[in-house]
Subunit: 173 residues, 2 copies
């Protein structure tokens, strides 16, 4: 069965979080997720990401939810396991194999303050390191590990352009 | 020999890039780099990151450079290999082992437009996937792979606080 990852971006604040949320979208798309659902509003984002997919290939969906709880409920109904990425969770290295055994995963990434219900409603709270860093980084490590690094080599179908290599390849002496 | 990674943030624009640059700093620190050098200015950043290290432990240096070229020259003089992360490079998966064999690595991460000299002055241009995404994500994958995933479990000495785990660990059925 093909793996299906949906990213749920908790508590997006329009304008303030827009650039970070955009990075989250691009990372979700590039590293193998099928969809991102944003709690909150972000006018123009869907079109912007759609244009990127038209140019660079593949399919990626941008959706919105008024409340993360509704989104979680719907995804759970479709058989998704809910994985919340947080500093305050179980070590990724210990639980990754168990999560990789699941084909449908919803990954919740939040902003700095997350309400306690997110911890309680998630099937598992996973810590990508025990230091403060970035939801973009947490999502990145998660997706890279979940897909075993192969997502970096994935061909995106129907691309209009491809990134060309610069000449200088070797690291040298 | 202990591995030493210095991150060089190319072309930082104060205000516009501040939040993304802050994420870059936090990721560099949390995922095992020793130092970040920012091309450009960012008043207050050094203090802010220093406060995080006081609270969460470890040592991490924030430095600035007027020009990325000067920074590269100095680091090369100290024996660092210069690895530029870009969409337009050699696949990470193919070159990572070669890079891991080096103990001193300077990782250049840029903004959207990077001048051609960065490609030419680097020892290797490495592509973290062939899709547009995020310099934060590129840095994250690089550091995670370079340190073999062990950086997530690193203990930061002299921490005043530690992230406590939430109770709900298991993924369940």
């Amino acid at each position: 069965m093909e793996k299906e990852v949906v990213v749920l971006r908790y508590g997006h604040r329009y304008v303030r979080d827009s650039r970070v949320t955009t990075h989250c979208c691009l990372v979700a798309r590039a590293l193998g997720a099928k969809e991102i659902i944003i709690e909150g509003s972000f006018p123009g984002l869907e079109d912007r990401i759609e244009k990127i997919s038209e140019k660079w290939g593949g399919r990626f969906k941008v959706g919105f939810a008024e409340s993360w709880k509704d989104a979680v409920k719907k995804l759970r109904g479709k058989g998704f396991k809910i994985v919340h990425l947080t500093m305050y969770g179980e070590p990724l290295n210990r639980f990754m194999e168990e999560i990789k055994a699941r084909d449908k995963v919803c990954v919740i990434i939040g902003s700095q303050k997350v309400e306690p219900d997110v911890y309680l409603e998630s099937d598992i709270n996973i810590s990508v390191g025990r230091q403060p860093h970035s939801e973009i980084a947490a999502l990145t490590v998660f997706l890279d590990r979940y897909f075993g690094g192969k997502e970096l080599e994935r061909i995106f179908p129907n691309a209009k352009i491809n990134a060309e290599k610069m000449k200088k390849g070797k690291i040298g002496n």
